[in-house]
């Protein structure tokens, strides 16, 4: 039985600059409802003359953190909403939100693993919610994140992902840089392809649950690669984010 999703007014409790182009907004919600990792909220903006527009943003935070949601937003040059969120919104401001929305692109520990998360650019946001949920739930499900970015400046949650790897939480992160890699980088330097996915999946136990999220063309290519590697279509879950931002 679905609870009625209503627009509610949330308050921006915190704003964190994750990268030069991305910010995370922590929003306190009076009618917060536990979400499942992978879901999103819609934000609606209203101008004084009544003009309205809305956008969807994936939830970055785990459901174990109650009362708030974290939304990581990439600033799109020429966009209508993300420049407003980045350039105008301050702590204490109110935003109209509706959610949590979704039911297909979701994961929680009850679904089991091993978990293969494939993310491109801001596609890593809902995948991060899955990782954070896994950690908060103290699960030991084998989890591997393949994260494709243009350059080191674009990596979201760098420190947190590093800490997870260092502390042996069972979460492994593999980066691939498509435009510019860090100095001394010996890892992948290209778009995600079949051979990369083969390397990654070969080290994982059977029964893989892949979640692929990011730019549409990346998602389609990766999902096709996974099919070619023999993973059943019904197990692969995808969320297309449209074109790349910049």
């Amino acid at each position: 039985m679905a609870d009625a999703l209503r627009w509610q007014i949330g308050t921006v409790a915190e704003i964190e600059q994750e990268t030069p182009r991305a910010k995370t907004f922590t929003i306190a919600l009076p009618e917060w409802m536990a979400h499942r990792a992978g879901m999103h909220y819609d934000i609606r903006l209203t101008a004084p003359d009544g003009y309205q527009t809305q956008r969807s943003y994936s939830i970055a935070s785990e459901p174990e953190r109650q009362g708030i949601v974290e939304l990581t937003v990439e600033r799109i040059e020429g966009g209508e909403v993300s420049p407003y969120l980045h350039d105008v919104v301050q702590k204490g401001d109110q935003l109209e939100l509706r959610g949590p929305i979704g039911g297909y692109f979701i994961w929680d520990i009850a679904l089991g693993g091993p978990l293969l998360l494939v993310g491109g650019g801001s596609g890593v946001v809902p995948l991060m919610a899955m990782i954070r949920h896994r950690v908060a739930a103290r699960s030991s499900i084998q989890t591997r994140l393949l994260y494709s970015v243009r350059s080191p400046d674009d990596v979201l949650y760098t420190n947190e992902l590093q800490m997870l790897q260092d502390h042996g939480e069972g979460v492994e992160v593999v980066y691939t840089y498509t435009r510019q890699a860090p100095a001394g980088w010996t890892g992948y330097r290209r778009r995600i392809d079949r051979s990369m996915l083969k390397d990654i999946t070969s080290q994982m136990e059977a029964g893989l649950r892949p979640y692929v999220c990011g730019p549409t063309l990346l998602v389609e290519a990766a999902a096709n690669n996974l099919l070619e590697l023999g993973i059943a279509a019904e197990r692969i879950r995808t969320e297309r984010f449209g074109p790349t931002g910049t």
């Binding site: 509610q8 903006l45 101008a47 004084p48 407003y84 105008v88 401001d93 109209e96």
Partner: protein, 205 residues
């Protein structure tokens, strides 16, 4: 839930006041050219492309790409308005007037409407008077360059005086009809004619 929240400091897209006279009501000006589509880009090979006029005509007529490019064409500079509210001013196109094409067929006296149909399945309906007298053309160049697939290339219909959903991308042909057959968007709530100056977006307007 209470009163509606006005988002502090948010104004949305604004109309340029100096151009206000040229922009239909409810529209805003853009400099780029948004890509909007109801489906994936059809890929038609030029050696298989045809444009056909059929239906209530004495004889259907069809042009191959080579034949089409040999037809007299000209440059049009027009304003276009999309029902999703953006307007572009002074857009330059190269194309063949619909008059040139219609003159190649003999219309049945019962013919009153045209269904424009596209590769990929899109359709839209127009009364004949909206397509003739140099009001519409089949374009194959935009802004001096060949029309790209995402914008309807190799060729699309352009009807600048109506909302841009009438300007069918990936045009394949015209079917002449006695009764108006509502097209893809018109069957789902969009206005049968679509005059931006009367804000005829939806069927109730």
């Amino acid at each position: 839930m209470g009163e509606r929240l006005v988002s502090r400091g948010f104004f949305g897209r604004r109309r340029q006041p100096e151009q206000a006279g040229r922009i239909p009501p409810g529209q805003y000006l853009v400099d780029d050219w948004p890509v909007l589509s109801a489906g994936p880009t059809p890929r038609t090979r030029l050696d298989q492309w045809r444009f056909t006029i059929e239906g209530l005509v004495r004889q259907p007529v069809s042009w191959s790409w080579e034949e089409f490019l040999k037809l007299p064409s000209k440059t049009y500079v027009v304003d276009i308005s999309c029902a999703t509210k953006w307007t572009k001013l002074d857009m330059k196109w190269q194309g063949v007037s619909v008059d040139t094409l219609i003159q190649a067929v003999q219309l049945d006296p019962r013919a009153a409407f045209i269904t424009a149909y596209s590769y990929g399945g899109y359709t839209t309906n127009l009364p004949i008077p909206d397509l003739v007298n140099d009001q519409a053309f089949i374009a194959y160049q935009a802004d001096g360059k060949p029309l790209t697939p995402e914008h309807g290339g190799p060729a699309r219909l352009v009807v600048p005086h109506l909302y841009f959903w009438k300007s069918a991308k990936w045009i394949q042909g015209f079917r002449l009809e006695e009764r108006e057959q509502l097209g893809f968007w018109e069957t789902l709530g969009y206005h049968r004619r679509g005059d931006p100056w009367k804000e005829e977006r939806y069927s109730g307007d």
